[in-house]
Symmetry: C2
Subunit: 456 residues, 2 copies
């Protein structure tokens, strides 16, 4: 196959024992992965050696409020807080990007702006913030609320949260801190910018007490696929991590987002769209399927039914025949995109409850590919070259084996096709992703003023 002039971006989505719900029971899995620091360091260093753009961490600010019978059979209740973990990993890596999920629902923008700015300094410009809204009742109840915020309000709060955080990241210009010992001038007071934000949800004076990021600003990542999510992403996201089941969905989402960008004064290249991919890799198709079945066989029905029930919005399915169809369900206040994806899938393929939960036991609504290096590379290449993706977030079924397989078997095939780098081109996450370093607003205005004739 001819080599592609463009290359795609790859994230390594790390999650405890792996993305398959039964991953922790795999004989090769590190069962205590959630709180095993050496486990995460080994994975991050592997991903870096393989030249991934970034590692990516999801988050939840609470233990799921699901039935104990299921909860106690999954490895989802004990895990590191992502920013603490990424800061520690930053110290033991040099080039790979570090993206952490932090919710806008139960945090203060000053704290979030500061932590990512700090991580960016520690890592030499490798931090990224996956901005999400929280929708779990179990999360809300850890933060003085009985229920989570209603969908629209959640996004309104998220949009303002974003603006405060990025505003705080611009508190200082790149050369604010002169630190001249002789004159005693530590910073140039003309290059300090007090935000003075007063909005509906937040009132934040600033300035931030961290110097401007090596990247200008940490990279902003988003994952929303609902209308409100797309709108916010088109205005503010630089990477979009998204779940698709089919190429058509991916293509339609991709086109929609890229079309929205100019309305916000943005260029299509300003946003990288990276669908999640759950790859099960075998040297033959049979070997791949065998690997997958090994994991599927480890899913306890109690866990499967509970998982499905949560994803579709909390409806109790435990009384229904597991080999019967999913009932018709009303719209909820939960994570819309995920729910809709699942219901569409069940309808399209006429799946029973058991078949449906086995579908999401691994990829959780993302694209699941069980195949050989060539067939997986074919699919990624198609999505990339035919307008479905700028890159992919790789969700290994279990760690370390699933990631090892992708690196050892699929990456060489992608490189043979010229689709993925053999060496990092730069040092920061923006360098890897091919994202512009933002010019500070005060400098941008300055540049503009200089380009204009003086007013009369």
């Amino acid at each position: 196959m001819a080599s592609s002039p463009r290359q795609f971006k790859l994230g390594a989505f790390l999650m405890q024992t792996g993305h398959h719900i039964a991953a922790w029971r795999h004989p090769g899995a590190q069962a205590d992965a959630g709180v095993n620091f050496r486990h995460y360091v080994a994975l991050a260093q592997k991903a870096e050696a393989a030249k991934f753009d970034a590692i990516f961490l999801a988050d939840s600010v609470g233990v799921r409020n699901s039935d104990l019978a299921s909860l106690s059979r999954t490895a989802r209740s004990d895990h590191f807080e992502p920013l603490t973990l990424l800061a520690a990993i930053a110290a033991l890596t040099e080039r790979i990007g570090l993206i952490a999920t932090v919710s806008t629902s139960f945090n203060e923008p000053f704290n979030v702006a500061r932590k990512f700015a700090s991580l960016d300094q520690i890592s030499g410009g490798r931090s990224g913030w996956n901005l999400v809204t929280s929708s779990g009742t179990g999360e809300a109840q850890n933060f003085n609320r009985d229920t989570h915020f209603e969908h629209a309000l959640r996004y309104e709060r998220a949009a303002e949260f974003h603006d405060v955080v990025t505003g705080l990241w611009d508190s200082w210009e790149d050369d604010s801190f002169v630190r001249d010992k002789e004159s005693g001038r530590y910073f140039d007071e003309h290059k300090l910018h007090v935000l003075g934000h007063k909005g509906k949800h937040f009132s934040v004076r600033g300035p931030l007490n961290v110097a401007r990021s090596p990247q200008g600003r940490p990279v902003v990542v988003q994952a929303g696929a609902s209308e409100a999510g797309r709108d916010l992403a088109a205005r503010t996201a630089e990477v979009i991590f998204v779940a698709h089941q089919t190429f058509d969905e991916a293509k339609s989402f991709y086109a929609d987002i890229k079309e929205r960008l100019p309305r916000h004064g943005r260029h299509p290249d300003d946003v990288k769209i990276m669908p999640g991919i759950f790859p099960v890799v075998g040297r033959t198709q049979a070997e791949a399927e065998e690997k997958f079945e090994q994991l599927q066989a480890l899913v306890h029905p109690v866990v499967g039914i509970s998982l499905l029930s949560n994803v579709i919005g909390g409806f109790d399915l435990s009384g229904l025949p597991v080999d019967g169809p999913l009932p018709v369900l009303p719209e909820t206040n939960g994570p819309k995109s995920r729910q809709r994806l699942l219901l569409d899938l069940a309808r399209r393929e006429n799946l029973s409850i058991r078949e449906l939960y086995l579908r999401i036991a691994g990829a959780r609504g993302h694209q699941q590919v069980v195949g050989t290096p060539a067939s997986i590379a074919d699919q990624l290449q198609q999505w990339f070259e035919e307008g479905g993706a700028d890159g992919f977030n790789i969700m290994a079924p279990w760690f370390p084996g699933g990631l090892d397989d992708f690196i050892a078997l699929v990456l060489p095939e992608l490189r043979r096709r010229g689709l993925f780098r053999t060496e990092y081109e730069g040092r920061t996450l923006r360098d890897h992703l091919g994202l512009r370093r933002p010019v500070h607003p005060a400098r941008a205005a300055h540049v503009e003023r200089e380009a204009q004739p003086a007013a009369a």
Copy 2:
């Protein structure tokens, strides 16, 4: 001198370029220390090689709201967020304790409990939380408020915050996570404890989504010297970091705290009291004084006056004669203990404004010792042996030189006297400090039940 059967505890209080307000202008200082990760790593590794119990980081969630003329001449506006920094340092150290200051005023207890639990897992049991309340207006204005909380309310909130955090740390028992791949049982549901806290300031369900700490619970540190601060500390603190100007003050505070402990069912050894010490070390007294004068000469009057003004509660002193006395000032809502210490000092020694600001340019109200290894060791030994301290938090005037001097000159003298360890006795911060590992409440109750005859 005879060797002491007890040995004292030492913290290395790291702060950007150093504790002296003009430290950053010292020819040997790292002027960009606040955002220089390698600088902090080198200091932490030095402190670990010297067998310090812990490194300690202060914090402020905002840039001081002081006049720009002064602010722009100090190195206090750009620094790492402490938890992010300590997590990164954890990855590059093995034994030293890691204590970070996090305010109860502008955080949520779930987030704080989780981050320290996470740091404790990453570091193998080395984390400590310095629980403070925030009193700066500049901080409040970054968190949706015009002014900070009133003193009593701040402490009431802090007390409840503490109880929620420690309650969340007990969400899981030590052996909750069985992770048995064969049976599919990941945790024992009888060893999960939902907090269900509903109080005046917080409503937090739990459980925490991090396994129980290697230390049982991270160590709780406090710094309040006001009546409300002492009361909270006697009930909840395991280390108290405190500022004293005289031995009599230290002795009186020490006795007061140790006397309060039994009222809360605690033993005197359950709390380690560690005053801050600002040491300027010379091989001769003249050399020590010369080193100190070198720093004092770098204090700009604009900076000195502004520093003093802030510490005494925000009164503007800029119009007053710098060589005249401090006027009589009313009580404020600021940090009471610090303000009172300063006013007492000025009165006791009849100091001018300039003399007073030069006194706090270094130690900021803490005990300043300018002397030889022997004279400094004499003082520390007296405080330790005569009921003033269980250890000390060492506040080097500038980094790295001030810490290097203490390690190279004072530590050998302390070791000759048998006052400080030559090797770590254990692996966790609790081990170093000689603090008991807390028994989980469910186990404590169990032990009690077993000791009782069965009810009829």
